[in-house]
């Protein structure tokens, strides 16, 4: 529990810094808790997205091989 609290505190510090370094166009309060959650989840979100994109791309390749004339619109390009 103590370790989790320390982790949260470190995350909060990161989030606060990121909140401070906003762009000139920002005008709403992002909320440091909301920033922290995104920072904490970053690896998980990126991993899930890359894995999902890879599966969809693989599926598209298989569909193209099996049905050369059929177009799969579900292809996702990882940014």
């Amino acid at each position: 529990m103590k370790n989790f609290d320390r982790f949260v505190s470190l995350g909060l510090a990161c989030a606060s810094l990121m909140a401070i370094s906003r762009s000139a166009n920002a005008y709403i309060d992002a909320g440091s808790g909301s920033y922290l959650l995104q920072v904490l989840l970053a690896g998980l979100l990126a991993g899930a997205y890359v894995a999902k994109s890879a599966i969809l791309n693989m599926k598209a390749v298989i569909v193209r091989k099996l049905h050369p004339t059929k177009r799969d619109d579900s292809v996702t390009h990882v940014g």
Binding site: C14, Y27, G79
Partner: protein
């Protein structure tokens, strides 16, 4: 600056504002937003969003129409005919608005930009579909930066949708009390305990609420910032889309959702009434451009108006009836179903009571339909007929209204469990009350029933 010209809701974002000049709706882009506005066009984002019917199109307007000295550009957006608010939307309308916002954000990221806000008020219904309104909501995307509008998206969309889906659909009305979305701690506390077992809801609502509460008491400390990669941002948008798409609600079991299958109308009477309503609408000169159908239920009679090419707002108190109407008529570009309790209509809201217009403030309209409604107002809600007539005169010039007498089985049902304290609720009393505000153009018995359908025209100017 003329405060009267700037729209009451357009003051938060320093990038610009919406205003009216000589009756024309314009949007000023301020100098501080010049570069971002250029990027919107030069990146191809504007074209991509407009082609996909995701963003309201605009044209360039004369710079002479600028309202203040810090103007960089002036644009003229396409007009939305009727403004509606999230607390008036059915479950699927709010869900579609949420998915639209996420789609806009995903498209923005692909073009090197990102949404800097994600308010549900940035979405309106246009030609039957949701569309994003705020052309100035985009900022250049900075790699490594989390989504600044994530909290707002969760408050405006995730919280109400989870509550509507997992607790009670009527909780959509909570948005009326919280102009910047439902606080996540409140939504977390009142949501169903089982939602904590759902990973996506657990993260975006419950854990999010917990971290918000914790961070509120922490002082900022300068430490190196972690990176939030573009893939993480796309994963966040993907996860939120999947959460929203997974939320379901079935419109059934409410008082009105099955009204037409539980009524005493024969199919012949129903068909006759539809013909009469159509005939009344065709009698109105000049032809109405917009009709409000009050107590529209699932929009069966509203569809007669849209069938005649008239834009129709189908208001009903029951979220299930509005949901059914929306789901079954998505292709009807002239229909807009909305939730509205006429006994307690949407008020003016927000800063200075000018951010969100009241129900009455969005009128008056060319014509109002009030079919099988008067007995609910006069008997279920004890509103005197004179007051009902005065209310109708405030919102419409023409009125197609059905009087349902005490002999009708529906009225008898209303009176079955209560004292009849309505001696003046008679056809003569109805005509007398409405004659104070309207001229009765025609009246006709609805075939096979004891009901009467009237076409009336307001006497004089609207009663504000």
């Amino acid at each position: 600056m003329s405060a009267e010209a700037r729209l009451g809701a357009s003051f938060r974002d320093p990038s610009g504002f919406v205003y009216k000049k000589s009756g024309v709706l314009l949007r000023q882009v301020n100098e501080s937003y010049r570069d971002a506005f250029r990027l919107l066009t030069e990146s191809g984002l504007y074209e991509s969003l407009v082609q996909g019917s995701l963003l309201i199109p605009h044209t360039a307007a004369s710079f002479d129409l600028a309202l203040t000295e810090d103007a960089a550009f002036v644009i003229k957006p396409e007009i939305i005919s009727t403004i509606s608010y999230p607390y008036e939307w059915s479950f699927s309308q709010l869900k579609d608005a949420a998915l639209l916002t996420l789609q806009v954000q995903k498209t923005a990221i692909q073009h090197g930009m990102s949404l800097k806000d994600a308010s549900a008020y940035n979405v309106q219904f246009h030609h039957g579909r949701p569309i994003f309104l705020d052309t100035l909501s985009f900022e250049p995307y900075l790699e490594g930066k989390p989504w600044i509008a994530y909290r707002q998206f969760c408050q405006h969309f995730v919280a109400p949708l989870v509550l509507m889906s997992h607790v009670d659909v009527r909780l959509g009305k909570l948005s009326e009390n919280f102009i910047d979305g439902i606080p996540l701690d409140l939504a977390s506390r009142i949501s169903h305990p089982f939602t904590r077992l759902n990973v996506k809801i657990g993260l975006h609502l419950h854990l999010h609420a917990k971290l918000q509460a914790k961070s509120a008491n922490e002082a900022p400390k300068p430490e190196p910032a972690s990176k939030f990669s573009k893939n993480a941002l796309l994963g966040l948008i993907d996860g939120l889309s999947s959460l929203v798409e997974g939320l379901q609600w079935k419109p059934e079991g409410t008082e009105w959702a099955d009204y037409y299958s539980d009524t005493n109308y024969s199919s012949a009477s129903m068909a006759a009434k539809k013909e009469m309503v159509k005939s009344c609408l065709q009698t109105i000169e000049p032809a109405p451009k917009i009709v409000w159908d009050l107590g529209a239920n699932n929009g069966e009679f509203s569809a007669i108006a849209t069938g005649l090419g008239i834009r129709t707002i189908a208001w009903d108190i029951d979220p299930a009836a509005v949901e059914k109407n929306y789901r079954s008529r998505r292709d009807d570009r002239l229909m807009l179903p909305l939730v509205q309790d006429l006994t307690n209509p949407s008020p003016d809201l927000g800063w200075g009571l000018k951010e969100r217009d009241s129900f009455i403030g969005r009128g008056p309209v060319d014509a109002v339909m009030a079919l099988a409604l008067v007995h609910h107002l006069a008997i279920s809600n004890n509103v005197p007929l004179q007051d009902v007539a005065e209310f109708m005169a405030r919102i419409g010039e023409w009125l197609i209204i059905e009087f349902v007498p005490k002999e009708d089985s529906q009225v008898q049902r209303l009176l079955a469990t209560r004292e009849d304290v309505f001696p003046s609720y008679t056809k003569a009393g109805f005509e007398s009350a409405f004659s104070a505000h309207f001229r009765i153009v025609s009246s006709e018995n609805v075939e096979g029933t004891v009901r009467t359908l009237y076409l009336m025209r307001r006497i004089g100017a609207p009663k504000i």
